[in-house]
């Protein structure tokens, strides 16, 4: 590093993060795990049981699905807001952000009131004669996905909105002047330029989804247990802190790996000449 003073300026911040974040988490995780018991086959069985596998795999599946849906929706909304909404721009943005500022519990219970069998949506559809049976949108994986998408959408929208807002409009005009229609402009000009932001948002959503607890607990009917809740049960109910530590460590390492990959990817993207996220 050529800029020595800058390193010293960073030092307090680094020390703070080390002292109050890295060290305590490290001490807890590594201290809670009883490393000597890991050789015991009974303990190994408990840690690698079918259920643990299922919980992790359900978490990965749901996180992946939700991240894809959220990213697509956020891209669509951000594009619409910035290029088509005109006067409605602020209103739409505010509406989406408003839900972000509500408590997660309020939102989850609000969705429950709307989606349950005799809730708003089903009652409406039944009364209109469009359905014979209420839709099972709650207390199952569908409910969990709806709840998580609802929660993640505003969070994903903000960076994408920034990316689209800062978009160089002259690029679009150049494309149009060469005869490109809207969809071609979108596909060949707009998306490639914002793609680092899109990938970044996708990865961020994925990581956040991995840690979801409240929303799946409320909307899943208690039967779609994701890894965060599973760890919590190990800590609170079973007082099996070593297991909890192991699962937490695995989750943390997985996320760290993802970050490493995303950093590497964004560096690649920057070198290719796209706009950094």
């Amino acid at each position: 590093m050529s800029n020595r003073p800058a390193v010293f300026l960073l030092l307090p911040g680094i020390l703070l993060v080390l002292a109050f974040y890295v060290l305590p988490i490290g001490e807890f995780l590594l201290g809670a795990i009883q490393w000597d018991t890991l050789a015991d086959p009974a303990v190994r069985d408990r840690l690698t049981s079918d259920t643990v596998g299922r919980v992790f795999s359900v978490t990965l599946q749901i996180s992946l699905l939700v991240s894809v849906i959220v990213t697509l929706l956020a891209v669509a909304i951000a594009y619409f807001i910035n290029f088509h909404a005109g006067r409605w721009r602020r209103v739409i943005l505010l509406t989406v952000l408003l839900s972000l500022w509500l408590s997660v519990l309020v939102r989850a219970f609000g969705l429950v009131a709307i989606l349950r069998n005799n809730g708003l949506l089903n009652t409406l559809l039944l009364d209109l004669g469009l359905l014979d049976q209420p839709l099972a949108l709650l207390r199952n994986m569908t409910g969990v996905i709806i709840g998580m998408v609802h929660y993640m959408l505003p969070i994903a929208l903000l960076p994408l909105h920034a990316a689209f807002a800062g978009f160089d409009v002259t690029l679009i005009r150049s494309a149009q002047s060469m005869g490109a229609g809207e969809s071609r402009t979108l596909l060949r000009i707009v998306l490639p330029v914002v793609s680092p932001a899109v990938i970044g948002v996708f990865l961020m959503s994925f990581v956040l989804c991995l840690g979801f607890y409240v929303t799946p607990a409320i909307m899943g009917g208690g039967r779609t247990v994701m890894v965060a809740e599973y760890i919590s049960v190990q800590v609170q109910q079973l007082v099996a802190w070593s297991n909890a530590g192991v699962f937490s460590l695995v989750l943390l390492l997985g996320v760290a790996l993802l970050f490493g990959l995303s950093l590497a990817f964004s560096r690649m993207a920057r070198r290719r000449g796209g706009r950094g996220s």
Partner: protein, 370 residues
């Protein structure tokens, strides 16, 4: 772990105040008297405060539960002995107790726990109670042990929706599992207590033969019901599921079932038949701040009138057999520990859960969670 038996009881009492069946003045007076103590408790009484002569009693629930406990057990003891009793509704989970004892920073003298505390005892985290001071005969013996005396009783009962089920009234757990005769979804507690016994009874095991529980059989039976099952986490949720008609039957706590019955005039009803009777147990973590001073306090909580008061305000069944003589017919009908209701129920075995809770809960959670 019963995360909300008492927190739920609070809501019960608050609702009763609203319904007019409990005197508001009692509550307000108790609140006023406790004002100072409450403020102290909410500051998170550290070791310094607790070292001064006072008893800190940790239970499940906020305001109303604390008030009810303070009125029934705290205030009379303070009046007799001059020692202040601080009731705090922060919820003494096993994890919290363990971390306090292991780091030598215990702030609670007596905790309201359940059968899951057997694991804490096995891990050496609890004090043996002083039965020279505490009268062991004044608490139900089935739930009392060296490390914990029965404080109160609650039941997991079969609650059902008369309107949804029509003239078919379920009365046994076999009915609960019978989705043909009794259509609709069911709800069970996410944290297992009460469900294994119900499952085995539904599967044809005689009440006398329940213990030691066949965990695999019980879990398989519950797993068979999975498609029709919603798990409730908090007591309020258990009520709401029945109220909203999302489920037609549920195994819920008697305190909430009684509330539902009062609220809906019997449309949502319940029965003590085959209900699973469980204890709230008073335990003392090792290294508690007040030391031996806590034992006379625990002994004082066995007083029948005080226990009856808690039954009236919160719905918890008295643990002292002497209360039997004080029941009115109405109270006896709704008390989970009155002799007429105890005859209908099965009792959990704290000794069995002390040895097997972890394995049972692990298997239960694994079966329902995925």
């Amino acid at each position: 772990m019963k995360s909300s038996v008492l927190r739920d009881a609070i809501e019960v009492a608050r609702r009763r105040v609203a319904l007019g069946t409990v005197d508001r003045r009692q509550f307000l007076a108790a609140l006023g008297a406790r004002g100072a103590a409450g403020a102290l408790a909410s500051l998170g009484g550290g070791k310094a405060e607790a070292a001064a002569k006072e008893i800190v009693f940790s239970m499940w629930g906020g305001g109303v539960g604390e008030t009810a406990y303070a009125e029934a057990w705290g205030a009379p003891y303070t009046a007799e002995t001059g020692i202040p009793v601080v009731i705090t509704g922060d919820g003494p989970t096993g994890g919290k107790i363990r971390s306090q004892v292991e780091t030598n920073s215990v702030i609670w003298d007596v905790c309201d726990q359940g059968i899951a505390a057997g694991g804490l005892a096995k891990a050496g985290l609890l004090r043996d109670l002083d039965y020279g001071v505490i009268d062991r005969d004044r608490a139900l013996p089935e739930f009392t042990s060296d490390w914990g005396v029965t404080g109160y009783v609650f039941s997991s009962v079969l609650a059902f929706d008369r309107k949804a089920l029509g003239d078919k009234v379920p009365s046994t757990w076999a009915d609960f599992w019978d989705v043909e005769q009794f259509p609709g979804k069911r709800t069970l507690w996410k944290y297992m207590e009460g469900t294994l016994e119900a499952a085995l009874l539904a599967d044809g095991v005689a009440p006398e033969d329940l213990y030691p529980l066949d965990i695999d059989r019980a879990v398989a039976k519950i797993a068979a019901l999975k498609d029709h099952l919603i798990l409730w986490e908090t007591a309020a949720e258990s009520e709401q599921l029945l109220r909203d008609g999302e489920v037609t039957m549920g195994q819920i706590w008697n305190t909430r079932a009684q509330l539902l019955r009062e609220e809906t005039g019997g449309q949502l009803d319940y029965s003590f038949n085959q209900a699973v009777s469980q204890p709230g147990i008073w335990i003392v973590p090792k290294g508690n701040p007040a030391g031996d001073e806590v034992m006379p306090f625990i002994a004082s909580m066995a007083d029948p009138e005080r226990q009856l008061l808690v039954l009236q305000t919160l719905g918890n069944g008295p643990a002292n057999p002497e209360t039997e003589a004080l029941y009115t017919p109405e109270l006896a009908a709704v008390s989970p520990s009155s002799s007429e209701n105890m005859k209908l129920q099965v009792k959990v075995s704290p000794a069995w859960y002390a040895d097997n809770y972890d394995e049972a809960f692990g298997k239960f959670f694994d079966a329902v969670a995925s």
